[in-house]
Amino acid sequence: MLRASAVCEQAGIPSASLVCEGFLQQAKAVCMGLGMKLPVAHMPGHVAVQPAGVLEKNILEVTLPEVIACLTRTVDQPVNAEEAPDEPGLRDIVFRGSHDAVNEHFQQRGWSDGLPIVPPTLAKIEAFLAHTGRKPEEVLGVLLPEKRTATVWSVAVNGVMSGCRPEYMPLLLAMVEAMADPAFGVEHAGATPGGDALVILTGPIVKRLGFNFGQGVMRDGFVPNTSVGRFWRMVLRNVAGFRLHGNDKATYGNTWRVVVAENADCLQALGWPSCCTDTGFADGESTVSIANYTGGNVVAQVSGDPRRQMLPYLADAVVRQMSWQLTFSVGAGLGRLHPLVLITPILAEAFAVAGITRSDIQQYLFEHARMRAEDMERLLGDWSDLVSECNLAAMADKGTIPQDFHASDDPDRMVPLVWKPADYSIVVTGDPLRNNAYVFSPSGLRGYRVTRRIDAEGMG
């Protein structure tokens, strides 16, 4: 919203941005990133929970005068003068002291996540830089909301701090390039649902760097999986600028997620393609995918006949994890809902033995993970107000969403959760000999799936 206001101001048209009381601090932080002191008219409380009379009183008594002032009163304060102190240069030494003193210094300045960091000394930074042929000053992208330039150098510094090993550098660079991809939408990483990225690795890099892809995947304890997951949020904090009580407006936060690695051995044995092929990469490539998820749940004890019991159980589990997220299918993010299903090797093998392929699972989920049309409309319209006047039939008739959502006028008709079978991501990972699965609820546009090839050149 503030980005729209900034574009208007730059076009010479004065703006007033309407911001709820609880978001004023975030608005201030976003304005710093935009380099503009955008005039804001505030709304007391949160409009979503106010009875009509309260809303009217608040808007007319508080917001209206501020709107008029925003548009007519000259705003003469310097843009950043009071908020933005002098910042260090890219290669400035910012502190000298003991390990403990460094940690205290970094914590006090909001440069760490609450856990001790590895002090980023020149020797350690240079060890990381040695694993890439790219120059330290090379810009990988500009990260909103603080609009800072992510460089090879800043990747190395944050990699050191997070406890990564130097040889992870090519992976870390690919992750930050993915973060900077406009398709991912890093500016939404501090959105109120509090989703966080899950990093998924494929290809030879998994074994080469020692990632856990077996029992207990997603549990901390393996240096690569844990430290690389931490690195993601460290960059969000230090380069993109997401900090709690500032730009990060998570209502209930997720912490950073331990990295998931695909089990290539199992895929090869079954003749199944890697999940990286979903995003256009070649089977067997070393890739990193990122996408935000607000949460998920284990699907325990997937048992019985693969067609009559296992697939129906998975479809049921998917439906149970998709709620307000459906707005990314038929609302704000048309066709951008990609539920993620992790299955263990033993489940994949059971499906394969039954003649069920990976794409068959996707097709089954598309056809059977469904809910009543009336329930979806109630969820997105009446309950969450995420889609105003939610009417699936009208949207399908207009061509806004596929006809699958309006196969009949029956409010009890079962409608899909996504637009097409390939919207389901299936990843084989986890305990090879346990019949569990896991379903993740995606954040759609607020951290949309992006994949990058990992440059193997630097991996010594």
Binding site: M1, A4, L18, S98, P119, L122, D385
Partner: protein
């Protein structure tokens, strides 16, 4: 080079003190000025931009009525003219704003909802 010398050049000395670097990165771009404010809203055309969430339609209805009562000749460009500024096509919608606002003769804009 001695061990102490190697430690110093590596950023730490024999007592464990080390010199450390900033984990941040420079901001891109400098300060940008705001647009010139209006003398009055009388006779002005105000565009309503919305992310189609959080009762912005209700809020705009209230503001439109109140502003119309207070400023003669004020008019509004409905939010449906622009599409959602917080949806599937938000980058394209926002990028198209300058041209569209000019075409529609907007003098000012309201944007909503920061929630």
């Amino acid at each position: 080079m001695t061990q102490a010398g190697r430690d110093m050049s590596a950023g730490s000395d024999h007592e464990g003190a080390c010199s450390v670097y900033w984990p941040g990165a420079p901001r891109q771009g400098g300060e940008k000025p705001l647009a010139r404010r209006l003398e009055s809203l009388e006779g002005k055309r105000v565009a309503l931009l919305w992310g189609w969430l959080f009762r912005g339609d209700d809020v705009y209805t209230l503001l439109q009525k109140a502003l119309t009562e207070r400023f003669s000749g004020i008019s509004f460009i409905h939010w449906r003219e622009f599409g959602s500024i917080h949806g599937n096509d938000e980058r394209a919608v926002v990028a198209a704003l300058p041209e569209k606002l000019k075409h529609l003769g907007a003098d000012a804009v309201l944007t909503a909802m920061g929630c």
